[in-house]
């Protein structure tokens, strides 16, 4: 090697792919992650717009789907109230309002959770031959979930007007409650995304999980204090987020504000961890697809 070549190799390379751990040095890893977010923003924007457009391009009923589940649930809960099912009648708002809020929150939770859980599997074909910042897919998914939320907010407002509920002033903070819900669901989804892409086990679990969640989350009612079911509900972080959103909207009681604050901090932490974990796993997930 001559001296001029030596000089050239002494220049600091712009990109290095080595066999060492991607995580260390941590500073470099975080710097790359930040750079990828910024670089991926134009693509994120395109992806988000296209995904939303695509959804309505291939769906003939469009926005109708945002309203129909809520309307059906309202009918069912009205029937339940007339039959006098205990629990449905013990809330400070009509059970239809409680239930529709519950079902909308659960829908948003499951949608956000699933969209991040499957994103690696869904976009893998694009990542096999092209270096695409993973963050673009995560953020586009996150954006789409927020879009879904805004599509459903009119339903909730319509319900409040229909049942003549006076909202609290805190209702302006309600979208932030939903945002936390989306963030929490996305974090869980991101933590499971690599597993989902590597094996089919999660698909089988997902057949049961929503039903199980319905059983331990205050979707339609909150169990009475002191019961075992109530204790299970309290252990479930979703309970606290659900109750906080309801409290922000139409008041009532919030039992564990401290736990809610802790969950908020944990959610933000989990989201960052989930994102970096997916970033770390991506090359291995792609490698498995190639084999």
């Amino acid at each position: 090697m001559n001296s001029s070549e030596n000089d050239k190799t002494n220049i600091c390379p712009s990109i290095v792919y080595s066999s060492g751990s991607q995580l260390f040095p941590l500073k470099v890893f975080l710097k790359t992650a930040r750079k990828d977010v910024i670089q991926g923003l134009p693509f994120t924007k395109q992806l988000l717009i296209q995904n939303v457009v695509k959804r309505y391009r291939y769906s003939s009923l469009g926005l109708f789907w945002a309203f129909i589940p809520s309307a059906l649930i309202a009918i069912l809960l009205t029937l339940g109230q007339r039959t006098g099912i205990a629990g449905l009648t013990s809330q400070n708002v009509p059970p239809q309002v409680y239930g529709i809020f519950g079902i909308v929150m659960m829908q948003i939770f499951l949608e956000s959770f699933n969209s991040q859980r499957i994103f690696l599997t869904y976009y893998l074909h694009l990542s096999v031959r092209q270096k695409i910042p993973l963050e673009a897919f995560i953020l586009a998914g996150f954006g789409e979930n927020i879009f879904n939320l805004f599509m459903r907010l009119p339903v909730l407002i319509a319900v409040l007007i229909f049942f003549d509920i006076t909202p609290q002033l805190t209702i302006i903070l309600m979208p932030f409650g939903f945002l936390l819900l989306i963030l929490f669901a996305s974090s869980l989804g991101l933590l499971l995304a690599p597993w989902n892409a590597l094996s089919n086990d999660l698909d089988s679990i997902m057949q049961v999980l929503p039903w199980f969640l319905f059983g331990i989350t205050p979707v339609f009612f909150m169990p009475r204090d002191g019961t075992l079911l109530h204790r299970l509900f309290v252990y479930n972080p979703l309970t606290h987020i659900f109750e906080a959103i309801r409290w922000l909207t139409y008041g009532g009681e919030i039992d564990h504000p401290l736990i809610f604050c802790l969950i908020t901090l944990m959610t933000i932490f989990l989201f960052v961890v989930g994102w970096l974990y997916c970033k770390l796993c991506l090359p291995y997930v792609v490698e498995r697809t190639l084999n």
Partner: protein
């Protein structure tokens, strides 16, 4: 030579063939990412093999590097490692630029999205802002010539239309390095020529290319330098002329090795060659010497001496030694037989030597199997034969720098005739 843009150092990658083990190893590798371990030599685990081993090369600005290798040689894995899509097991890839674009047959296009959406995606992925894309998009659509279909999903496009779209997108990008993975091979001749001419202009303006292709004429027309990959290793690196010649030789040897594993002769041919009397076996072939006379090694078009040495326990007048050159199972190329009538050979007790000279060996470079034998010209019976039921002799014809020979290699001819033109 321009600035250094890329270098790899001892780049290696291991893969596992068994799905169950591979899944376990993937989990172990992910776990390893969380451990702060000093760089250490990673070994093969059970069921693994080296898909790439110790790959070292450099790419400079303004240079076109060809990557040649048969299917499974490790070309695509190397590209994936270069792009950081998968992680190396050992070694390092160092880029001295951020501006790299990969083009392959899929080209990362999304079939569910429209042509227009795909243009937005591709360009935004390469850092173009929406404002710039809006400015460029009409030109791109016009250049692609598929403006009538630009708002229909890409899934409905024919392969030719997709290529035209991809091409018009990529021609707008001005990266420092284009990595082209077999993308030129698809599309009609007109498209290929258009793409090649674009790449030539790009090279002239100081761009660099890594070109992966099975079609060697494309590599020859664009690249200055080539790497040949075989079983995950670089077996030749140098000028395109030398590398392509080495590649042909490698391919021929591979084809021949495969055919050598098959039985050489059918039952009928075997009977014909070993039609014997009770004297069969009394003569034993000891050796066949193949000596180049006017060159250092046996090569196409060279003068070659064949010397057959045998040990006989009988005396026999009028015999004919023969040499049969074969290339695998089905290709019996030529037979050379000692004169039968006008100058008959005779066999003495003890060591006998028979020789002949081929003035210009008409064989292409490669490994040939040689069956030798001695026939009794009176009874037409075979006295001995070597290479039918035991191992044949092997003749290794080497390649060398010669334009006609290289053309013959590209055209995959069977024979090489060294003709003198007036």
């Amino acid at each position: 030579m321009g600035d250094l843009l890329l270098e790899t150092q001892n780049l290696s990658k291991r893969f596992c063939r068994e799905p169950k083990l591979a899944f376990r190893y993937t989990l172990a590798d992910i776990f390893e990412e969380f451990r702060y371990l000093p760089e250490r030599t990673k070994k093969l685990r059970k069921g693994e093999f080296w898909c790439l081993k110790n790959i070292n090369f450099k790419l400079n600005r303004g240079e076109a590097l060809g990557l040649i290798g048969h299917n499974g040689a490790g070309k695509s894995t190397l590209i994936n490692l270069l792009m950081g899509i998968i992680r190396p097991t050992a070694g390092e890839v160092r880029w001295y630029t951020n501006n790299i674009v990969t083009i392959d047959q899929q080209s990362g296009l999304n079939p569910l999205q429209t042509g227009r959406e795909n243009i937005y995606n591709k360009l935004s992925l390469h850092g173009l802002s929406t404002r710039k894309i809006v400015k460029e998009i009409d030109g791109i659509i016009e250049y692609s010539g598929i403006s009538d279909f630009i708002d229909t999903p890409l899934g409905t496009y024919s392969m030719g239309m997709r290529l035209r779209l991809v091409f018009s997108i990529y021609t707008r990008l001005r990266p420092d390095v284009f990595i082209i993975d077999e993308a030129l091979g698809v599309g009609d001749m007109k498209f290929q020529e258009k793409f090649a001419s674009f790449l030539r202009n790009y090279l002239d303006s100081g761009g660099s290319i890594i070109l992966v292709s099975h079609q060697l004429y494309q590599i020859q027309s664009l690249c200055d330098r080539c790497l040949i990959l075989d079983q995950g290793q670089i077996i030749s690196q140098g000028s395109t002329e030398k590398a392509t010649s080495d590649y042909y030789e490698l391919m021929q040897i591979k084809a021949q090795t495969e055919s050598m594993l098959e039985p050489l002769f059918s039952q009928e041919t075997k009977q014909l060659l070993t039609q014997t009397t009770e004297e069969y076996g009394l003569v034993k072939i000891l050796d066949l010497k193949i000596i180049p006379l006017d060159t250092e090694q046996i090569q196409s078009g060279g003068k070659v001496l064949f010397e057959l040495i045998c040990d006989s326990s009988i005396r026999k007048s009028s015999i004919a030694p023969f040499i049969l050159i074969t290339l695998g199972k089905s290709n019996r190329l030529a037979v050379m037989q000692g004169c039968e009538e006008d100058c008959p050979y005779s066999l003495e007790i003890g060591i006998n030597k028979f020789s002949c000279v081929v003035e210009q060996l008409p064989l292409m470079p490669g490994k040939y199997q040689i069956i030798t034998g001695i026939k009794d010209t009176t009874s037409k019976a075979t006295l001995t034969v070597k290479g039918v039921e035991d191992l044949p002799f092997i003749m290794d014809v080497k390649s060398y720098q010669n334009l006609v020979l290289q053309l013959s290699q590209i055209l995959k001819t069977t024979l090489y005739i060294s003709a003198k033109w007036n």
